[in-house]
């Protein structure tokens, strides 16, 4: 069996099959990165998995899961001030959290250099929006590399790290979902010897590190000069390339869309010329304008916003170039990932004369297929919680969701948590919903990792102003949605030296008067606790806790513990009320489409038993697994 940690640590050049996220860790090792920080978020958490796999063998770098993206960025920043080459990575919307600090980075000399890896998510595969973070980069004067595949992600990281440390500046590597997760055989270079110099080299007298008032002007000028230096590098970057067909038409593109494009252009009798650029901020405008000057019509193919397009149009206007530049116009042009299907629609709507086919609608005859959205796992403590909480709620109570697995409560059949913004928003949004509102009670939800990440300011606000809301903290002991990373409230391992912070103690320390703690499998007690909390005037909290069962089941399996029990239905007792299906909705229950009989799918049931108390006629029992009986 291959051990990814050992593979990534090899001294000599090698090649191996891996995804983009994993390849980045090898790039970090080759570049001599010393500090890596993150807050978990799709599509980037596998970078952390690979980094931790390395640390099981050697310590070429320091790694931490920080409390949130802002703290992660600050830890990496601090380390870079001391001369450490540092990396911080997080998902697209993580940059919103980090931005308050990140926008200052370019004003300061980051001695060791700092690379920010962003996991942008065109298509919102696992995010609440599809924000285009190139805008942030422009505002913050930070260069952006945009790779199209894992090999390029690795190579671009190496170059980004050199630019960052030579110029003492931040550089962004903008990954997108299907570059993070794309897999293939990637070729790597050799691993240099570890840097020996551990001297903390921060010297405030050597530079200006207080960006305030009159100091800002000179700092900003310095950052703009650095950016211009990077633009000159962008002009001659080996990541730019030109595919010439001697056409009067040209396409300018970058990143993953450049690969979709090359797929589609194989269908073209007279393909246009294509210019692919590697650094998308600052843009290599000499190269681009030279390309424009040699074509009559240019189409800009980029994902999400018209970022490159606006820049190219402005530059062409300044240089009085006479050509037609086409880009985004219709709302659809700004939406979704530019995979082949979307790109086909885009090109056909702009340049029908290219003669791309309309694509193959795979089937004309198929009926509407049953949808299968994400849902809570079998045995999930959140399911028990929502089932019990629903009994304490009135139909017109207002429920506010936050980010995490419990967000899935908005779906059928629970329909709890019906407004969502961002990490930690729920207490603030709930407080607003409670104003001028005597009739409808407000219940807000928050995950435990999110409690520490961004939940506290909203809670403190609710305590201070005594907002009349009930907060239910869904505590499962882990950052579950992104793959079970520890957070500040997670149980501290024996040898790790981490401190476990008690949510209850924090709340009591803040002076919250009404706090109760209930295991969500104890449904009656949870219903009673929520009912009681709702009667409390002012701010009240219920901690609804149960360990993440997906995590627990996996850990047990690794230890060789296989569940011995599973739920079974007593056919005699079952009245086909279907409470277990229509209200509790554990996916382990199946229904016979002919007879309507309820059964348990042995492939799904984990034998947790949280469903037993749900059945009004006590038809659900916990038996030995069938295989054991055979």
């Amino acid at each position: 069996m291959k051990d990814i940690g050992r593979i990534l640590l090899q001294k000599k050049p090698f090649s191996e099959i891996m995804m983009g996220n994993t390849a980045l860790v090898r790039a970090m090792i080759e570049a001599g990165v010393e500090v890596i920080t993150t807050y978990p978020g799709s599509p980037t958490p596998e970078i952390a998995d690979a980094a931790r796999a390395v640390l099981r063998h050697e310590n070429p770098f320091y790694f931490e899961y920080s409390t949130n993206e802002k703290v992660a960025s600050e830890v990496a920043f601090g380390a870079s001030l001391n001369g450490r080459l540092s990396v911080v990575f997080f998902k697209s919307v993580g940059l919103n959290v980090a931005a308050d600090s990140v926008v200052q980075f370019s004003l300061l000399d980051l001695k060791g250099g700092l690379v920010i890896i962003l996991g942008d998510d065109p298509g919102a595969n696992s995010s609440q929006n599809e924000q285009d973070n190139r805008h942030f980069a422009r505002m913050a004067a930070i260069p952006v590399f945009e790779p199209s595949d894992p090999q390029q992600a690795y190579e671009m990281f190496l170059e980004a790290a050199v630019i960052a440390s030579e110029n003492m500046m931040p550089v962004i590597l903008r990954m997108t979902t299907h570059v993070c997760h794309a897999k293939g055989r990637i070729s790597f270079g050799s691993r240099p010897a570890l840097k020996q110099d551990q001297t903390p080299s921060f010297r405030p007298e050597m530079g200006e590190y207080i960006p305030l008032t009159s100091a800002v002007a000179s700092m900003k000028k310095r950052s703009m000069l650095k950016l211009e230096k990077v633009r000159q590098l962008a002009e001659i970057s080996s990541f730019n390339y030109l595919i010439e067909h001697k056409s009067k038409k040209g396409i300018i593109t970058c990143g993953l869309p450049s690969l979709s494009l090359s797929d589609l252009l194989t269908e073209c009798a007279n393909p246009p010329d294509v210019l692919v650029i590697g650094i998308v901020w600052p843009l290599p405008m000499e190269l681009i304008c030279d390309f424009c000057a040699r074509h009559e019509e240019v189409l800009i193919v980029e994902e999400l916003d018209d970022f490159i397009e606006k820049e190219v149009k402005a530059a062409a206007f300044d240089r009085r170039l006479s050509l037609t530049i086409t880009g985004k116009f219709e709302p659809d042009d700004f939406i979704g990932e530019l995979h082949s299907q979307n790109l086909r629609r885009f090109i056909n709507s702009k340049w029908p004369e290219l003669g791309l086919g309309s694509g193959e609608p795979a089937s004309q005859t198929v009926p509407v297929l049953p949808s299968r959205p994400a849902q809570m796992c079998p045995g999930c403590g959140h399911r028990s919680a929502f089932y019990a909480i629903k009994k304490a709620l009135k139909d017109d109570d207002i429920t506010v969701a936050d980010i995490g697995c419990h967000t899935l409560g908005y779906m059928q059949p629970y329909q709890i948590g019906t407004v969502l913004l961002s990490m930690g928003h729920s207490s603030g949004t709930g407080a607003g919903l409670s104003l001028f509102n005597e009739e409808r009670r407000v219940v807000t939800f928050l995950g435990d990792s999110t409690f520490f990440h961004a939940g506290l300011p909203g809670i403190i606000n609710a305590v201070r102003n005594n907002h009349n809301i009930t907060l239910i903290i869904m505590e499962n002991g882990t950052t579950a949605m992104t793959g079970h990373q520890d957070h500040a409230g997670s149980k501290a391992g024996d040898e790790t030296g981490f401190k476990q912070i008690s949510i209850r103690a924090v709340l009591e320390g803040l002076g919250v008067k009404s706090v109760s703690e209930v295991d969500t499998y104890n449904q009656k007690k949870l219903t009673a606790s929520v009912t009681e909390a709702l009667e409390h005037q002012g701010f009240s909290v219920v901690i609804a806790k149960h360990p993440c069962m997906l995590k627990l089941t996996r850990e047990n399996k690794r230890r060789g513990i296989i569940p011995e029990r599973r739920a079974d239905i007593d056919e005699e007792l079952c009245d086909r009320i279907k409470e277990c299906i229509s209200r509790f909705a554990c996916p382990s229950f199946s229904i016979d489409k002919e007879t309507g009989a309820v059964s348990v799918n042995p492939e799904l049931c984990i034998g947790d038993g949280s469903c037993v108390q749900v059945c009004p006629v006590s038809a659900i029992g916990l038996g030995q697994k069938e295989r054991g009986n055979e």
Partner: protein, 192 residues
């Protein structure tokens, strides 16, 4: 090795069925056989009992890891509903579908709002579009989490993976597993 082979494999299933392992075994099998190969899995929210998919592209297909709908040569699905979805969305006319014949009902089906997908529905749609269908099922698995390897094994025996042999798959399994797990999986694969 066939220098001209261009082969698109679309895989699907339900979160928790082990599609990640399936795609990892296949990408390594093709790599072992000397092919240029790339792919991409869906990660993230879809892992919570939602639909999961994986794309694999074999041969010099350019760098794009994603298959365009209607352009897969082979669809491999771990569950019947997802097999039907894979066939209707991704498989080309004249392609091949191989699926593990188990059913994880969707909420809509359980609530009586959606129609359950049957073997017959798959067959009749396949006939309309000249698609060859292979159903795989085993009632002798030591652990249901080995359905992915059982499907792989059945599919290898039906010769649906153009360009690779059972030994390529076996050596891919050796890359990914060790100990009793490896032995069990090799046993299910049963190259003979």
């Amino acid at each position: 090795m066939n220098e001209d082979l261009r082969f698109n494999i679309y895989m699907s299933g339900v979160g928790g069925q082990g599609i990640g392992i399936l795609s990892e075994v296949l990408i390594r099998s093709y790599d072992n056989a000397g092919y240029l190969v790339k792919g991409v899995d869906t990660h993230g929210l879809a892992q919570r009992g939602g639909m999961v998919e994986s794309h694999l592209r074999v041969g010099c297909t350019g760098g794009n890891p994603l298959i365009e709908p209607g352009k897969a040569d082979l669809a491999v699905s771990l569950e019947r509903t997802e097999a039907y979805r894979a066939m209707s969305r991704y498989l080309r006319k004249g392609g091949v579908l191989v699926y593990y014949n188990t059913l994880w009902q969707t909420l809509g089906v359980r609530m009586g709002e959606d129609e359950e997908i049957t073997e017959e529905m798959i067959k009749s749609e396949a006939d309309l579009r000249d698609i060859r269908v292979y159903e795989i099922f085993s009632d002798r698995l030591p652990d249901i989490r080995m359905q992915n390897i059982a499907l792989l094994s059945g599919a290898v025996r039906e010769n649906v993976f153009t360009g690779i042999s059972c030994t390529d798959v076996a050596s891919a399994l050796r890359d990914l597993f060790s100990g009793a797990m490896l032995e069990q999986n090799l046993d299910i694969l049963n190259c003979g």
